[in-house]
């Protein structure tokens, strides 16, 4: 793969480096089970779309640096076998006027733990942090997020969604931290959980720690089952109960999946979701 190098002399971690002022128009796909760690660097004013997919292994460690004026759309897809415990560690630093979007898709593994830490280092840095998890059987998805606003005039927007079938579980805990120096920052954090079975469980702890006063900061969390009115509406249009339910769940994921910059990958994920919805029964 172009831009990928097996790094420096003293580190085994491969580096994916987009040189200064380089706009990579084609989507870069990274799929490598031999290395657990990867460093991604977008040099100033470069841009790229990277899709990083893990289908085997136990761990992915990502260190991301989006430098001044650069733009990165990064997607991490986890589709491992359901016999593994998977840990995802991501640390991202976003510099001045840089734009970072990170999307996290969790479908596989018996237990997945995601630690997503995003630091807005300099004024004008922006980050959009998105995640969807679709659990079935006894899967457990645990996500910990940190949005650190280190500088004034920074923005972060987080949306994590989980839909839970069977006896699956979601545990979300996230924090927005705005210290004194990060005035005029905007920060948002939303966690939504769709409980599709009586035995599914969800826990959500969205936290705010705010010291700067001139900020706009909001968070929201919600838990519930399929909306009866939405289902009724769809059924009144001729869909049967099961179809209506599937459509509502697919719509629930659409908000995040639509942000993935590859049609092919997006369609494949929609298909994965659809197949999982066809297993067994909802409700």
């Amino acid at each position: 793969m172009k831009y990928l190098s097996n790094s420096s002399e003293n580190s085994a971690t491969p580096v994916l480096r987009i040189p200064k002022d380089t706009q990579v128009s084609e989507t870069l796909f990274y799929q490598d089970a031999t290395h657990q760690a990867l460093t991604i660097v977008l040099e100033p004013n470069s841009s790229a779309n990277i899709i990083d997919e893990t289908v085997a292994g136990e761990k992915s460690v990502r260190s991301i640096h989006v430098q001044k004026g650069a733009k990165l759309h990064y997607t991490h897809i986890q589709r491992c076998g359901e016999d593994v415990t998977f840990v995802e560690e991501q640390m991202a630093e976003v510099d001045q006027d840089a734009i970072f979007q990170t999307v996290h898709i969790g479908l596989g593994a018996r237990q997945m733990t995601s630690n997503i830490h995003t630091k807005l280092m300099q004024p004008g840095a922006q980050a959009k942090i998105l995640g969807v998890f679709f659990g079935h059987n006894h899967q457990v998805f645990e996500a910990h997020t940190i949005q650190d606003h280190e500088a004034p005039n920074t923005q972060s927007d987080l949306l994590f969604k989980s839909a839970l079938k069977d006896e699956s579980q979601s545990h979300y805990e996230g924090v927005i931290r705005i210290p004194r120096q990060a005035q005029k920052s905007d920060a948002f954090q939303t966690n939504r959980n769709l409980l599709l079975s009586e035995k599914a469980k969800a826990k959500s702890i969205p936290k705010l720690e705010i010291i700067a006063d001139d900020v706009r900061c909001k968070h929201a969390a919600a838990m519930g089952t399929l909306n009866a009115e939405e289902l009724f509406y769809l059924q009144s249009r001729g869909l049967d109960g099961a179809q209506a339910e599937r459509m509502v769940v697919e719509g629930f994921f659409e908000e995040v999946l639509s942000q993935i910059p590859s049609d092919e990958v997006r369609q494949r994920l929609v298909k994965n979701v659809h197949e999982r919805l066809l297993e067994g029964k909802l409700g």
């Binding site: 005035q183 469980k201 959500s204 936290k207 900020v215 909001k218 838990m223």
Partner: protein
Amino acid sequence: MPKTKQSEALKDIGQNYDEKYGFRKPESYTFKSQRGLSEEVVRNISGMKKEPQWMLDFRLKALDIFFKKPMPTWGDTDLLNGIDFKNIYYYIRPGEKQSTDWNDVPKDIKDTFDKLGIPQAERKFLAGVTAQYESEVVYHSLQKEVEKQGVIFLDMDSGLREHPEIVKKYFGKIIPSMDNKFAALNSAVWSGGSFIYVPKGVHVTIPLQAYFRINAENMGQFERTLIIADEGSSIHYIEGCTAPSYSSDSLHSAVVELIAEKNAKIRYTTIQNWSKNVYNLVTKRAIAKEAATVEWIDGNLGSKLTMKYPAVYLMGERAHGEVLSIAFSGKDQHQDAGAKMVHAASNTTSVVTSKSISKDGGRSTYRGLLKVEKGAKNVKATVRCDALLLDEESRSDTYPTMEAHENKIDLGHEASVSKVGDEQLFYLTSRGISEQEAMMMIVNGFIEPFTKELPLEYAVELNRLIQLEMEGSVG
């Protein structure tokens, strides 16, 4: 408005607390236990009160738990670990006997009430006023019609003496001594507080009120309140407190247990304005049975550190719980408050509304729990937290926890943090209103959902307190 100008306008707000609100009377106590805590102190307290054996056993067991339990490892641990348990009086008894008539209330205590600005006429009008002065209730009256309805409204010590069967049935059942370190402490050394029983179908139309005060240096206040609203009854209890300021730290650790039986309704209103050296570590919990409603209306203005999370356990179908709270944190204050709603039955609903204001480096924390237990279906619950930061020295934290073990539910949580908008200030000042007045209007508007739930005299008192906090050197 330029930032500097705004912070200048805010600078003096909340200052001069001592002159404006701190006052004290010389101590005149008949019995003052030793500083520090030991089995002997607990035995003494129980003996002085001529309590039954089961209560002494309860206290001693709780004392044991208190010694064994570690300090909480969450919250403001720096401040918590600053409490010197050895340097606190655990029991003081003012005057020998309980007053039954206003005329018998000692003069210096009346003076204190005068300073609080409670008009004479109002005092007489208020249904039952239990004035907690030091560790025991000194004044207690109950309006005749309330008494005639069969309502029991006593201080906790008298409650234990006169109605031991009811007390034994409920005491420590909602909040067991094991619950937390401070509940254990209260269980060991409790004194005073209110005991209320409202019989079946009785509606107490006038709020029952109690004033709490601390008036001795290093003195702990460990009230114990138990309110039982029997089937189909309703009651509104109001607890308000202001305290003189002292140089060293005071500890206030109350336990409040509420039981709302089938179709009953309890509203519990608190305005807490301890002086800014008081640790206010309170455990409040209610049980709401079938179709019962429990509302906590909770205002936190004073104290150095408050940790208080009023809880409602919704145990019966169609029960409803509500917490409406405001917190005001000024210089050197940390209000760590919140709410807990535990839905353990189907078709239960709850609403939590929390407002906080931080200024002069004050810190406000919302910490809450919303939980749906297995088997509780069709639960609806919302939590709404809004925080206002008045300067860049202050801090706001939000730590909500939401947990669901059922899927036929609808839970929502929303929170926001912001400052007073420049546009809002500009609009008001362009209408000829001074900056401080404008600021106060905005703050008053922000907490209005809370004030409008208070009885008139309390709303007036609260407005006066906020004004004192916000006013600073003006006037």
